[in-house]
């Protein structure tokens, strides 16, 4: 079986020092993968490298067998990779619905976008009530729904999420993870970076632990959840 996303020998930097060192990582089709690690471990940088936002990368990133290492960021979504960035990055002066429609920009298909909107409203009914409201005036949790919903508008094969629970109330976090599991159950592969390690290992099939830009550990999520090193370092047990 070949992986949907295959990363081999990836190193990367923003221009000065190297931030990622020799990373190997695979995401299988329909797999739910978590990447955990301390602050500044390089989790967001790894996701940016996949999406073409990191200025300097060496090694190889392949999606569905195609080398995408040198592809500019704006060519990535059309392949079926949606990236929900850290900090939400909604378009503040656009309505909820306009934000969602921007998520389908790469599809360039009005009818698929219409269907996508309904699907996202099914996932997050709250957004339907707020469809005309400017995204910049929403609460943090609602903005995160817009960001995830906007990613789903692409009908992605791989959904990349960077700390979707950052700064949200515990109840909203739970709800967000339920939605991610729902999305995964529809057949979308998920690559989740999460600071809430307990929750991430709960949802994921497999996980990688990133430390100082290197893969330190990897394995099935339930095994990692029982690993003493993880329990001490990240779960505080």
């Amino acid at each position: 079986m070949t992986a949907l996303l295959e990363i081999a020998g990836l190193s990367g930097s923003y221009g000065q020092g190297e931030v990622l060192h020799d990373i190997d990582l695979q995401v299988g089709a329909r797999e739910f993968l978590a990447v955990i690690g301390a602050n500044t471990a390089g989790k967001s940088t790894l996701l940016r490298a996949i999406s073409g936002l990191l200025p300097q990368v060496t090694g190889r990133i392949a999606f569905d067998g195609t080398d995408i290492t040198a592809l500019p960021a704006n060519r990535i979504p059309a392949l079926g990779i949606a990236h929900v960035p850290e900090g939400r990055h909604v378009f503040p002066m656009m309505s909820v619905e306009e934000n969602l429609r921007m998520g389908a920009y790469a599809l360039d298909d009005r009818r698929r976008a219409d269907r996508g909107i309904e699907r996202v409203f099914g996932l997050f009914p709250r957004l339907k009530e707020r469809r005309r409201q400017l995204a910049g005036t929403l609460s943090g949790g609602e903005q995160q729904m817009v960001a995830v919903g906007r990613g789903m508008m692409l009908e992605p094969r791989l959904l990349i999420l960077d700390e979707p629970s950052l700064g949200l109330a515990p109840m909203v976090v739970e709800e967000m993870h339920d939605r991610l599991l729902e999305i995964h159950a529809e057949g979308v592969a998920i690559l989740l970076v999460e600071q809430n390690v307990g929750l991430a290992l709960d949802c994921a099939d497999r996980a990688y632990v990133l430390a100082s830009g290197r893969i330190e550990l990897q394995g099935p999520a339930d095994e990692l959840a029982r690993d003493d090193r993880i329990r001490q370092a990240y779960l505080g047990i």
């Binding site: 979504p77 990055h89 002066m93 921007m102 360039d108």
Partner: protein
């Protein structure tokens, strides 16, 4: 009765010129809104637009209202070229470098115009130039609407509405707004932001040049004509809120009205005094512009 006529006339004059300020400010605002760069050379494109329209009139016999479209096209391409060669490399540079570049560009364009077009003042003659609409005439009183100003206003209105529709309704326009609001997110949506920057700069310079071309029947062109507009343009944009197209329209109309009403109470040499007092007050009290809404 006399004061009603005087006030209405002042209102009409203010709106007619304010419409022009609006359209030339849209261009400046668009460039700032999308690229977050303050283009001090922007008023030079008004001058270039006037000269394109003047040559179109002198050589091809085109009325400036038609020449304006030529001006729009020429400066759209010129602006895109300049963005590619000069602006793009400094987009991520410190603000000081950007200021040096666009101020340098201002002098370069002005001097290039002096070299190419000469220092002469250029004007056109059109059949409607000296004609005016006379409204509500009664007992020696009337409201005068010169055709040249009316046509220029309507053209400006038409272009402003077109730009607005383009930004709201078209796929490229929406991509441009997305780029303005969050360039990183825009790239993650699959938008080629470099292309958007180029298009926005071209559209911005083109819109302002169009505004220059349509006033040619009542304003003479010269290589330094931009300097008469640069401060008004910045005032309009700051009043309405930097980067907002609707704000630029409101700001432009306000500048026109303030100018025109100040002339009622102050000598004409001081017509911009009240304007600048208001400008400074807005900067001090509500620097995000009088139209802005706060977002979280």
């Amino acid at each position: 009765m006399q004061t009603i006529y005087t006030l209405t006339q002042t209102l009409v004059d203010g709106l007619l010129i304010g419409g022009i300020y609006a359209v030339i400010s849209i261009g400046l605002s668009l460039v700032f809104g999308v690229m977050h760069i303050v283009n001090f050379a922007h008023a030079e494109f008004l001058m270039i637009g006037m000269f394109v329209a003047w040559y179109a009139w002198a050589w091809l016999g085109l009325d400036p209202m038609l020449g304006a479209f030529l001006a729009l096209g020429v400066t759209f391409l010129l602006g895109m070229g300049m963005q590619r060669v000069l602006i793009k490399p400094i987009l991520a540079a410190p603000q000081v470098a950007q200021i040096f570049l666009t101020v340098g560009l201002l002098f370069a364009l002005e001097n290039a115009a002096l070299l190419l077009f000469g220092a002469d003042y250029r004007s056109v003659s059109t059949p409607y130039q000296t004609e005016a609409l006379s409204l509500f005439a009664s007992g020696g009183e009337r409201i005068i609407v010169p055709y040249a100003k009316l046509f220029a206003f309507l053209m400006a209105l038409g272009l402003g509405a077109s730009v607005w529709l383009f930004l709201q309704r078209t796929r490229t326009g929406q991509a441009m707004r997305a780029t303005a609001q969050d360039a990183t997110a825009a790239r993650l949506m699959g938008i080629d932001t470099d292309r958007m920057y180029m298009l926005a700069f071209g559209l911005g310079t083109g819109t302002t040049a169009f505004g220059g071309a349509v006033i040619l029947p009542y304003i003479t062109a010269s290589p330094t004509v931009g300097s008469q507009y640069v401060v008004l343009m910045f005032t309009a944009v700051v009043l309405g809120g930097l980067g907002s197209v609707a704000g630029a329209v409101v700001g432009g109309l306000l500048v026109g009205l303030i100018q025109s009403f100040s002339a009622l109470v102050l000598p004409i040499q001081l017509q911009n005094l009240i304007l600048f007092v208001i400008f400074i007050a807005v900067l001090a009290l509500k620097p995000e512009g009088i139209l802005s809404r706060r977002t979280g």
